[in-house]
Symmetry: C2
Subunit: 385 residues, 2 copies
């Protein structure tokens, strides 16, 4: 392999999906670590916690009570980062007025949801089977479908989803009156990733504007398509499946890789193998295959250091309100950004050089993929029970 030299030398890699470079220093894991240690979550949680604002039947901060739900339960975040109604703000932009060049702002409205994965306080996606994860994906699909703009190119797919996936009463949310632009579904897992409640859940922030990250990806994917006539992630998934060295796992519908350009030590990208533009393009069978992929990633993560592995993860797909071209350029994928580097207690900090210079990583994605390939098998906790 001509690139074997990259295991030993410092180099930069290019992320074609967001258009930026990062620094890779494979030899650097040898340095001793005397810094902060993460506290591995040793305490056994109860399956129901009367103080948890996400457990079934409990009261939330602003007074509402949760229903006795089964698995996926959705509600509007009591402390949303964006709201539907707020005072109007129309900044005046004056040509060549310094303030309107350098102090630019625009209003942001939207709605934020919280969605549980299970009624059990003490479970995680890694503990759940693909079949148990499926209702979460079904609920995501229905919420995405119900929030789609009436003129969306995928309107027919949305209607199909709403007709064929049975509604889960606890996971239903009516869309806001004003059409929104983008839906970001993400999970923060573990205290190290700013999660303040271990009850398994994700968040869905739906905004009037297209956020920076999916915006950059959209621009890069559109450009690639225009220049090469093929989709960036289509070419990439095919290439990685052939090379194999960064592949963690795959089934017919999804490829799981530590991407060439991974920043976080065990960063993973789950890529649809065919042109899936959004959740609502998935067939029944593909939804189950997606659940399998999520199960494989999260279980392998926990097995790697035999710990409840922290991460942030999220889906990127077609905007809720978008043009024909934008829908066509979109390619469904899921990112996992986990901070642990060497053990359950030693994480990678993306700090000084990373913030001021550029991201820097200490092991290669090929090394990370090899380790994740090797830790399939039963969830380590199962045999401890």
């Amino acid at each position: 392999m001509p690139d074997k030299v990259l295991d030993d030398i410092s180099h930069r890699r290019y992320n074609p999906l967001n258009g930026s470079w990062l620094l890779v220093s494979p030899h650097r894991t040898k340095r001793p670590w005397q810094g902060q240690q993460e506290a591995p979550s040793k305490t056994k949680l109860p399956s129901y916690d009367p103080k948890c604002y996400l457990c079934p039947g409990n009261q939330r901060a602003q007074g509402d009570s949760n229903p006795q739900y089964q698995n996926a339960f959705a509600f509007v975040n009591d402390y949303s980062a964006v709201k539907e109604e707020q005072q109007e703000y129309k900044p005046e932009i004056k040509e060549d007025d310094v303030a309107s060049l350098l102090l630019q702002a625009q209003p942001a409205t939207g709605r934020c949801y919280v969605l549980t994965f299970s009624s059990k306080h003490d479970t995680t996606l890694a503990d759940m089977s693909a079949k148990e994860i499926l209702p979460v994906i079904q609920t995501w699909s229905r919420i995405y479908a119900s929030h789609l703009s009436p003129s969306h190119p995928l309107k027919a797919e949305a209607a199909h989803v709403l007709e064929t996936i049975p509604a889960n009463a606890d996971g239903e949310v009516d869309p806001p009156k004003k059409q929104l632009r983008y839906m970001q579904i993400f999970e923060n897992k573990g205290a190290a990733m700013g999660c303040s409640n271990p009850h398994p859940h994700c968040q869905i922030w739906t905004t009037s504007t297209l956020p920076e990250e999916p915006g950059k990806e959209m621009a890069q994917m559109t450009k690639y398509k225009a220049e090469h006539g093929r989709h960036l992630l289509q070419d990439y998934a095919k290439l990685e499946a052939e090379k194999g060295e960064r592949v963690v796992w795959q089934n017919d519908a999804f490829l799981v890789v530590c991407p060439w350009w991974a920043v976080w030590p065990f960063e993973v990208l789950v890529i649809a193998k065919r042109h899936v533009r959004a959740l609502i393009d998935l067939t029944d069978d593909e939804r189950l295959q997606f659940a399998e992929a999520i199960q494989e990633v999260t279980r392998r993560y926990d097995n790697l250091f035999e710990t409840n592995f922290p991460y942030s993860s999220g889906l990127h797909q077609a905007p809720l309100d978008c043009t024909e071209e934008e829908a066509e350029a979109s390619w469904f994928h899921m990112h996992f950004y986990p901070p642990l580097l060497r053990s359950a207690t030693v994480r990678k900090f993306l700090v000084g050089y990373e913030m001021l210079g550029e991201p820097q990583r200490d092991i290669t994605p090929e090394q990370a993929a090899a380790r994740l390939r090797d830790c399939g098998g039963e969830l380590y906790r199962k045999s401890l029970e």
Copy 2:
């Protein structure tokens, strides 16, 4: 003030210096926090720690011993992220070969230094006077000057610095044989920012390539100059000095603001008021004024929550090897990125939405600036002694 509405509504702000947007949710600080608590550094440190690899006279990991230095002592990092010598790597780029489009890498060489701020293990920049910080700035200036390319537009300024600033034997480092492109000076302070040794020090990573962040700033500043005939940070400093609401502190040479586009809760930008392209453009008096600015920022940080405030900080300036246009476009400034949000133990996490969507902040930069303006005065620890 027409923008007062921004204190209450969610909005996005534009960062013209790096060309990206962030989400501001001023109302969001009201949410309760039950997540991870930072451990405030309560333990009193000794002024000399026999186990510290940075204290004078001690032995380092790879066997070298530190001299009995006074303040600024520089040495090559024993675990550098980049090295001067390594195997060659010349990727073959083939037109329309998918692998060379999607698996791009380039070699990165360079040299990393560690530089102490003081011989005292238990001090920080906040504890030091401007006069005590000055030798650090002098050493930065000499190291930058000695690493400048022979054809650099600021070559005369470099020569002047090397002639007029007295050498500090412990802070002298010979440049590598191969000319490097950029010098990133940065500090990680506190365990929360991945710092593994409290002995006051910074790092200097010098690389063969221009990193992403200064690269983006260079592009934005060059574009602004071409479009408006003035410097972006010149216009910005003038505008902020007039408006006042984001100004934390200033002297004749430097303006300290919580920038309009701050991502971190108490993020600060120190901007040169006149066109300083790099450290070596500073006069003797301006170097002292820069030391004053650093003193003011770090002391106010510590006073804010009466704690040893963690942050990452760093300088941006002209590349070591650059064209006339790049030197002209450069405008010397220093960033401070501190994570604390509400108290010594509650930080802001830039996680799920921030990684997958875009950065999100909970208080406005105007609110942050007002609080930092109000906590000048003696370092809180002084009166506790």
